[in-house]
């Protein structure tokens, strides 16, 4: 049975119209005027136990609203959610025991106290038996390499160390599902790698179901075989990462800096998009190792000084998906700010 089952999920926010002037707050309180914002519209998906799923979309797409409903923080306007067989917002406290959550931007650790104090409190809050606690902590200490800063106050930790501590704490009560909201945001490459490695490990070895929101497609590629893409409140893609690539075409842009201007060159598998003499940008589908082939071929003829591969942004992928599905692609600026408002007055 699926551990997360979502059917026809909708969430509308009512925004009360604020009144100005004397007793404005009082009038706002009794006012019936509001506007409706549809944050999530008819979303359905199901996640099996032990899956790792990336939940992506631009800002304001409804990502965190969905996560908040899955964790029981918000109540859906309509539709059904079952998490481990229970309705999250009706069984928030029971559900709390089987889910762990990491919010990249908000620490759940005690700022001025050693990391271990937060862990011990967590043990008591969740009533974890001493033996289980020691075993799980031992696992986390080893895989996340916590020992060097376990006794240090949280305020002295680097962001990477803090995130490792947050992950460990979220796992102490051995949750079945781990929710992660932007777990790698702001981290350097090394720290990101370490976090991704850890998430892969707990997903594969401990069978923890992972649901992850992110802006970084690399997070998805390295952790989650499956991807749910949401935009403007609706699911627009739900399949494997490999399938996404074959759908949108795995096009990448490579910028090559030659030692000297090679002039007009022949590019077998790609097209030249920008030509600035010694610096050329080439776009091509990367499906069969043709990058390396191209580079070695070029390097034999013209000395190359530097190569950089442009990361594909989620916004780019979404725009491509739009084009594929025959809809009009929104501007990238619209993706971030677009939201539906409908004024209602009664």
């Amino acid at each position: 049975m699926a551990i997360v089952e979502v059917t026809g999920l909708n969430k509308e926010f009512r925004r009360n119209r604020r009144h100005q002037g004397a007793f404005g707050a009082v009038r706002t309180l009794f006012s019936r005027e509001y506007s409706i914002h549809r944050a999530v519209q008819d979303v359905s998906f199901s996640i099996e136990e032990g899956e790792a799923v990336g939940y992506v979309g631009p800002n304001g797409a409804g990502k965190s609203t969905t996560i908040k409903m899955l964790t029981g923080i918000l109540v859906p306007t309509s539709g059904d959610i079952l998490v481990d067989g229970r309705v999250p917002h009706e069984h928030r406290q029971e559900n709390a025991r089987i889910l762990g959550a990491v919010f990249g931007q908000r620490s759940q650790l005690w700022w001025d106290l050693p990391v271990i104090d937060s862990f011990e409190l967590h043990q008591h809050v969740y009533g974890i038996a001493d033996g289980d606690y020691r075993r799980t902590l031992g696992f986390c200490r080893e895989v996340l390499q916590l020992d060097s800063f376990l006794q240090a106050p949280v305020r002295q930790l680097s962001l990477g160390q803090r995130m490792r501590a947050e992950m460990a704490m979220a796992l102490l009560h051995e949750p079945k599902i781990l929710f992660l909201d932007e777990p790698t945001i702001g981290l350097d490459v090394l720290a990101k790698d370490r976090i991704r490695e850890f998430l892969r490990t707990i997903n594969r070895e401990r069978n923890v179901t992972i649901i992850l929101t992110t802006h970084d497609l690399k997070d998805i590629e390295e952790i989650c075989p499956r991807l749910i893409m949401i935009n403007q409140g609706t699911v627009m893609f739900d399949n494997t990462v490999a399938h996404l690539k074959s759908t949108v075409g795995d096009e990448r842009e490579i910028k090559i800096e030659f030692a000297t201007d090679p002039g007009a060159i022949e590019i077998p598998a790609g097209t030249l998009v920008r030509d600035a003499g010694a610096s050329k940008t080439i776009r091509f589908a990367q499906d069969n190792g043709s990058v390396m082939a191209l580079l070695s071929e070029l390097d034999g003829r013209y000395p190359i000084r530097d190569v950089s591969i442009e990361e594909v942004s989620i916004e780019d992928v979404i725009r491509k998906l739009y084009i594929q599905t025959g809809q009009n692609a929104p501007d990238s600026s619209e993706i971030d700010t677009w939201s539906r408002h409908r004024a209602v007055t009664r």
């Binding site: 002037g21 004397a22 007793f23 404005g24 707050a25």
Partner: protein, 262 residues
């Protein structure tokens, strides 16, 4: 001068923006006046203690409720907030003298308090409980002068608290301590004439009496002649001393800020 005027106006408008707050604050102040009137009625009754009757105490209570609006001490909150957010570096770089900017903002707030709180509170309280005009023309003039002293001294005290936070990084301790001293020695609740010795003598030497007792007593004609002159002299002395302290600390604080790199 025009730029300070702008800060004054901005501060006035900022405070006036929340009108629900204003209403509740007026009601709060009226409750306080009502409570104190009841207390003095219980204490004095229909007679008089040391020549002071209930009606005079009512005037004293209303004057002190009004005086509360002219206390600029609270300005340390603004400075503290700006110090925490780091905005203070921008303030210092502006082509205005920061202490005067703070004064202009505090005066803007005081003006707002005067219009939206003092006036309605005095009118309503006077209608309900009764209120006496200044004892004489000279008492009225003396009151205006005392009010000026009150504002300058409270500004200096508030600013000193703010400046100390440059070193202690919080205004918490000083604000509590100074708040306590003000409660006790300003005479805002118990007039200094009812203080037993040695408390009366101590209170008369401290700057806090100017934040409540002195303006009210001057208005009521309880402080006249040589007493008044001596009191004002003490006030001016405190004013100068405190303002010199702020200047000294300000110079140190800015150099401190430069060393820390803002």
């Amino acid at each position: 001068m025009t730029s300070y005027h702008t800060y004054f106006r901005k501060s006035f408008k900022k405070n006036a923006a929340y009108r629900t707050t204003v209403w509740l604050q007026i009601v709060s102040s009226l409750i306080q006046v009502g409570i104190q009137v009841a207390v003095w009625t219980a204490l004095i009754g229909n007679g008089a203690v040391d020549g002071i009757g209930r009606d005079q105490m009512i005037t004293y209570v209303i004057l002190n409720a009004a005086m509360y609006a002219f206390r600029l001490t609270g300005l340390y909150n603004d400075v503290d907030a700006r110090l925490r957010s780091g905005d203070i570096a921008i303030d210092i770089l502006r082509p205005v003298h920061y202490p005067l900017l703070v004064l202009a903002e505090s005066l803007g707030r005081a003006a707002y308090h005067f219009v939206f709180m003092v006036v309605p509170i005095v009118i309503v309280s006077a209608a309900v409980f009764g209120f006496s005009a200044p004892a004489s023309v000279s008492a009225g003039i003396g009151f205006v002068f005392a009010l000026l002293l009150a504002m300058l001294i409270s500004y200096a005290i508030g600013y000193l608290i703010a400046l100390l936070s440059f070193w202690f990084l919080t205004t918490f301790h000083f604000s509590w301590a100074i708040g306590g001293l003000t409660t006790l020695f300003s005479g805002a609740f118990l007039p200094l004439w009812f203080f037993p010795e040695p408390w009366a003598s101590i209170a008369r030497m401290l700057p806090f009496q100017f934040l409540g007792f002195v303006p009210a007593a001057t208005w009521m004609g309880q402080l006249t002649g040589t007493d008044l002159v001596v009191t004002f002299a003490v006030g001016i002395l405190w004013c100068v001393t405190l303002l010199m302290c702020t200047r000294l600390l300000w110079n140190r604080a800015t150099s401190q800020l430069v060393v820390q790199g803002g």
